[in-house]
């Protein structure tokens, strides 16, 4: 029985050795290849975290692209912080949408002494990771975490540039209320995101005096909604809201129409994509859904063109926000004349910035003041924006574009 000891110590040694390797290997980000081109510049690292694998990897990549675009643009202008020539470098990490991995990756970024973080994508990973950033004093701006808790923890470093669930929920609920439903059914996918949003919708509905049926739930993998829908159908609701992603929302809508349900359907931002039309087919027509923020189509034309030029694809959902988040971090550093988080954090909190997603200012908690919500309807297989809700007012896309174009120039 000498084997175990040798093997054990051997495995420890190899583990340590391998870790050494892990550290020596340079991060393969394209930015690092560009770095030697400007040897005089000090490198300032900015982290981005989102799921690059798993069910919503396409959204994670979209977020990363937004941040990457911002940093590449700034680097092209030979940026300065104070009187120091700098080069920004993006450290893009994959959290797999798993809080445990999210924390490990967060620690990795803190170890690498990044100056600021853009991310994470999911509220479920952003909230626990923010405790690590808070302890390290590094600012974190999420472009997509919509759960209110993120900025309710009292962390000075936590910001978001996207609307919260308790802003988005009422918006889509009010839109559904326009048709004066008497009974509403609410379904969710039993995830932090789906349930959180559904709760906000329910609150608004109840406040408006509408009868809300007992909550029905599936999971984030459910494709068989027939039993739930049959039960709901038996109570003849006038409208149905679903809090969940497109992969589950598509089958839900398809099966509802198969069961001859005539109710108006409303979904949240996770299921507010063109994928819906593909998955639910003709059944998807007329679906109303909301996105936290302004529609990608309404984002600055400059951003859209630049994104397409850089990545050769259309932006999907939150990239204008991560783009703005990265630019906000850089702008604050430049204004404060320092990339030291302690120095530029107060400046960041006072930001007043016109970005691709409109004017951004933070309130005391770190939430965006007056965040916009957009309502879409599904027409001819595409989600098309029908209204933008800002400060409680509902604007059409054209009205919004006019209003936004005015002050921006």
């Amino acid at each position: 029985m000498n084997v175990p000891m040798k093997a054990l110590s051997l495995s420890v040694v190899t583990a340590v050795a391998l870790m050494g390797c892990g550290k020596e290997a340079p991060p393969p980000a394209p930015a690092s290849q560009a770095a030697p081109a400007a040897p005089a510049a000090t490198v300032v690292k900015i982290g981005h975290v989102g799921p690059l694998t798993g069910g919503i990897a396409h959204l994670g990549k979209d977020n990363e692209n937004g941040a990457r675009l911002a940093i590449d643009e700034v680097n092209a202008t030979n940026p300065m912080i104070g009187d120091m020539k700098v080069k920004f470098e993006l450290m893009a990490e994959d959290d797999q949408g798993d809080p445990k991995v999210g924390n490990t990756v967060a620690q990795k970024l803190v170890d690498a002494k990044v100056a600021g973080i853009v991310g994470h994508l999911n509220s479920g990973t952003t909230i626990p990771a923010s405790a690590i950033y808070n302890q390290a004093g590094i600012p974190v701006i999420s472009g997509s975490a919509t759960n209110p808790t993120f900025t309710e923890q009292g962390f000075k470093v936590a910001f978001r540039v996207v609307a919260r669930d308790d802003q988005q929920g009422p918006a889509i609920a009010n839109y559904l209320l326009q048709n004066k439903p008497k009974t509403v059914a609410i379904v969710d996918d039993a995830t932090a995101y789906g349930e959180g949003l559904a709760n906000e919708v329910e609150k608004t509905m109840k406040a408006a005096g509408v009868k809300v049926l007992p909550r029905e739930k599936g999971t984030d993998k459910t494709v068989d909604w027939k039993a739930v829908l049959t039960k709901v159908k038996g109570k003849s609701p006038d409208a149905v809201f679903y809090g969940g992603m497109d992969a589950t929302g598509g089958p839900l809508l398809k099966q509802a129409r198969e069961l001859n349900m005539k109710a108006q359907f409303g979904f949240g931002d996770g299921a507010c994509t063109d994928k819906m039309a593909e998955l639910a087919g003709a059944a998807a027509e007329g679906l109303a859904c909301s996105q936290a923020g302004i529609p990608v189509q309404a984002a600055g034309a400059k951003f859209l063109a630049a994104y397409k030029a850089a990545f050769n694809i259309e932006p999907i959902l939150y990239s204008p926000f991560t783009y703005d988040a990265a630019k906000l971090l850089i702008a604050a550093m430049q204004k404060a004349g320092s990339a030291d988080p302690a120095k530029y954090l107060p400046v960041l909190a006072e930001s007043n910035y016109d970005g691709a997603s409109g004017n951004i200012q933070f309130d005391a908690k770190g939430d965006r003041k007056d965040a916009e919500i957009t309502i879409f309807t599904l027409k001819d297989g595409k989600v098309a924006p029908t209204a933008i809700i800002k400060g409680g007012k509902s604007l059409t896309l054209d009205e919004y574009a006019k209003a936004a174009a005015g002050p921006a120039k």
Partner: protein, 351 residues
């Protein structure tokens, strides 16, 4: 076992383990965290080893006990209920609750064997997770899928495990403190395991594993002894869960999915069921391999092909899957099988 007799070996190992977090810390605190998770997995694997390795009861829902321990800690030391009990009170409570859960699972399943037991334990694990995910309504107990946040870290006197202290010029970060605590627990658990293995109870477990009828005939109270295996295994899971909650500062049901149970089982089987050192090694290898691959797969591809041919995450999983298959192909009893453990679980082909 001669392992502990080799005094120089022990001293070297001891010193290596003591300075390990600082060496890892040089590569980044992230590696200390990864090490801590590896130790947590070792604890879990050792707990499961009692059930699967010693008593031969195939348990596919083991992560449920980990979850129970984690939630007990989270609910008793967080703003969720406004309770902030110290860890040395909660950890035993967590172990106790998990132990009860273990017996609740064990009692009705005593008659089941092999694969039937596997599916029932699997179902039990899923049930526990689903309850945690849904007990926010109609009365909020677990806070549902949102999970419980801002969980208190360990405090020992003035030492806060979430903060960095400087001791004699050395920066001792939070994860390093947890590492030493985990190491202490691990040593304790290993000692308990070794004592159990060579005790009457340990031999009774093995007897049941090899032939339950014969064990019964030999006068072993198989019912109680099997329940004891479930209870002991579950308690270890509960303690690990409590420490997990404190280290993470956040728990949510998605950390306790079926895949985690399968992972822990793979650690036990891969290392060598029934052999403590095999299980320890199996857990460390399986916990580290994915992380090492995370740091190396992409640079390796860049070096070989100049660009990323296969996405690192996918390649990582492919390598991992192949490793499981190949290991079993060439070492079906694990890397370091238990010496007396020739036949493992009751073998059908033996009939």
């Amino acid at each position: 076992m001669s392992f502990l007799k080799g005094r120089t070996g022990l001293i070297i190992l001891g010193i290596a383990l003591l300075i390990l977090p600082f060496m890892l810390g040089m590569a980044g605190t992230a590696w200390v965290r990864i090490m801590n998770f590896a130790v947590l997995y070792v604890l879990l694997a050792l707990g499961l080893n009692i059930v699967v390795g010693y008593a031969g009861l195939l348990d596919l829902g083991y992560i449920a006990f980990f979850a129970v321990g984690a939630y007990v800690y989270a609910l008793l030391a967080s703003p969720h209920f406004g309770l902030h009990l110290p860890f040395w009170i909660i950890l035993p409570i967590g172990a106790f609750v998990a132990c009860i859960a273990g017996m609740v699972l064990g009692a009705p399943t005593l008659r089941l064997r092999g694969d039937y037991l596997a599916i029932v334990t699997l179902g039990f694990g899923e049930i526990v997770r689903i309850f945690m995910n849904n007990l926010s309504n109609p009365i909020n107990i677990t806070n549902g899928p949102k999970g419980v946040n801002l969980i208190d870290p360990f405090h020992i006197g003035p030492i806060n495990f979430a903060k960095t202290d400087t001791i004699a010029g050395l920066d001792v970060s939070g994860p390093i403190k947890y590492y030493y605590f985990l190491l202490l627990v691990l040593i304790g658990v290993i000692i308990i395991n070794r004592r159990l293995q060579d005790s009457r109870i340990g031999r009774a477990w093995v007897a049941i594993r090899e032939d339950e009828m014969a064990a019964k005939a030999a006068g072993i109270n198989t019912r109680n002894i099997k329940l004891l295996a479930f209870a002991m295994g579950a308690s270890f899971g509960g303690i690990s869960g409590g420490m997990f909650a404190a280290i993470q500062g956040f728990v949510s049901p998605e950390s306790f999915i079926l895949n985690e149970s399968i992972m822990v089982l793979a650690m036990v089987v891969l290392g060598g069921m029934g052999n403590i050192w095999g299980v320890v090694a199996g857990a460390i290898v399986l916990a580290f391999v994915p992380e090492i691959l995370r740091y190396t797969v992409e640079p390796a591809q860049m070096a070989l092909f100049g660009h990323t041919l296969i996405e690192p995450e996918v390649l990582r999983m492919l390598i991992f899957g192949s490793a499981l298959v190949l290991t079993m192909r060439f070492r079906p009893a694990g890397f370091w099988p238990e010496t007396r453990h020739k036949r493992e679980l009751v073998e059908a082909a033996e009939k």
